[in-house]
């Protein structure tokens, strides 16, 4: 199996920058791509802040400074630099049309043997594979946030994904201390299909005035031993993302059990998006 030293990371949002940081801290060269210089500059700034905070919290990074680690991250607005990539993780917005444009281009740019992993929690891997001439070398990797702290990744095998591609993906993950759990391609995979339904039902409980958010979460935390209740988890993920994900499940299965709670829709319309907006089910 070929070495996977140069990693393309497409999309420098929260997931892309977490991934770039984690990969660079594990000695990889990272090609971090996004559409604008501003978001790339912001990503580098945020990675530097994260590394420095980790230094403060006692992570020594083998004696490397934040700047030394960042020197392994090459930023660009041009997908053409991915010609050099041994493995690509795409983290663009969860929108099929946006992803379509990217896959059509990188399929032309990258070497034929390069594997592409779509970091998605919602979009069909088989459908992404169909955009390229290499559906056998496309798979899904659902990383969790914050990437450097979450060791387990949901790995999704598309209809045409080969065992060799899965092996390459597992090798890639092991290179930065991660493990994969392999599941088949299906809307929401395992994680979102269960989590979104749980969050949506918890929102219905608030909507139906069965219990306030703090009590709903308390039952999960104190009775079930979860680290965080479903509503605090929703606030962390972002209620706009939650609504989008549940909408995708609803459209994919055409099953009314995935209908989004009206309260959730109203909160999103009102700008109560959770932690990032200062208020969701809880205040921050």
């Amino acid at each position: 199996m070929q070495d996977l030293n140069v990693i393309g990371v497409v999309g420098a949002g929260v997931m892309g920058r977490g991934l770039a940081q984690d990969l660079a801290q594990h000695g990889h060269k990272v090609l971090l791509i996004d559409t604008g210089k501003d978001i790339l500059d912001d990503a580098v700034r945020s990675i530097r802040q994260n590394i420095r905070a980790q230094l403060l919290m006692g992570k020594k990074n083998g004696g490397k400074s934040a700047d030394e680690i960042l020197s392994a991250v090459v930023t660009s607005t041009d997908l053409a630099v991915l010609e050099e990539a041994d493995f690509v993780v795409e983290n663009a917005t969860e929108n099929f049309d946006i992803k379509k444009g990217i896959y059509r281009q990188i399929d032309q740019i990258c070497r034929p043997q390069t594997v592409f992993a779509a970091n998605t929690s919602a979009i069909s891997i088989t459908r992404i594979g169909s955009l390229t001439k290499r559906p056998d070398r496309i798979l899904g990797m659902h990383f969790m946030n914050p990437v450097p702290m979450k060791k387990t990744v949901e790995v999704i095998r598309g209809h045409h994904t080969t065992t060799e591609t899965i092996d390459t993906a597992i090798k890639f993950l092991s290179q930065f201390g991660k493990e994969g759990v392999i599941v088949r391609d299906s809307p929401g995979f395992v994680s979102n299909r269960v989590l979104m339904l749980t969050v949506n039902e918890a929102a219905f409980l608030v909507h139906d005035r069965v219990a306030p958010p703090s009590d709903i979460d308390k039952i999960f935390v104190e009775c079930f031993g979860h680290k965080m209740g479903p509503l605090a988890t929703a606030d962390l993920i972002g209620l706009d993302t939650i609504l989008y994900s549940i909408d995708v499940l609803y459209e994919s299965f055409n099953d009314s059990k995935y209908r989004p709670c009206p309260l959730l829709k109203q909160m999103v319309d009102a700008g109560l998006h959770g932690q990032k907006s200062g208020r969701g089910f809880f205040e921050y």
């Binding site: 802040q49 994260n50 420095r52 905070a53 980790q54 230094l55 403060l56 919290m57 006692g58 400074s65 934040a66």
Partner: protein, 83 residues
């Protein structure tokens, strides 16, 4: 120095209750904070006091208590770092 302590305490109060927190209490060991707080604390100190915190300064002994942060500020504020 006491002015620094007051400003730092005000910053802390945005994240957790500070009544009952002694200037010598270790906020990192006390479970008050996480790495997100550390990110914001470093960024805030650099901006608020116009200082540069070097990698070598990034040790819990400099950041764990209101006293230790005030001492670090006493060393750094007004010191011009060569470009």
């Amino acid at each position: 120095m006491s002015e620094y302590k007051q400003i730092v305490r005000q910053f802390f109060s945005r994240f957790f209750r500070t009544d009952g927190l002694d200037d010598a209490d270790d906020v990192f060991a006390g479970g008050y904070v996480n790495s997100l707080f550390a990110i914001q604390l470093i960024a805030w100190l650099e901006k608020e006091f116009s200082i540069t915190i070097e990698d070598d300064d990034l040790q819990l002994t400099n950041f764990s208590t209101i006293n230790s942060i005030a001492q670090m500020l006493g060393r750094k504020v007004g010191v011009v770092v060569p470009a």
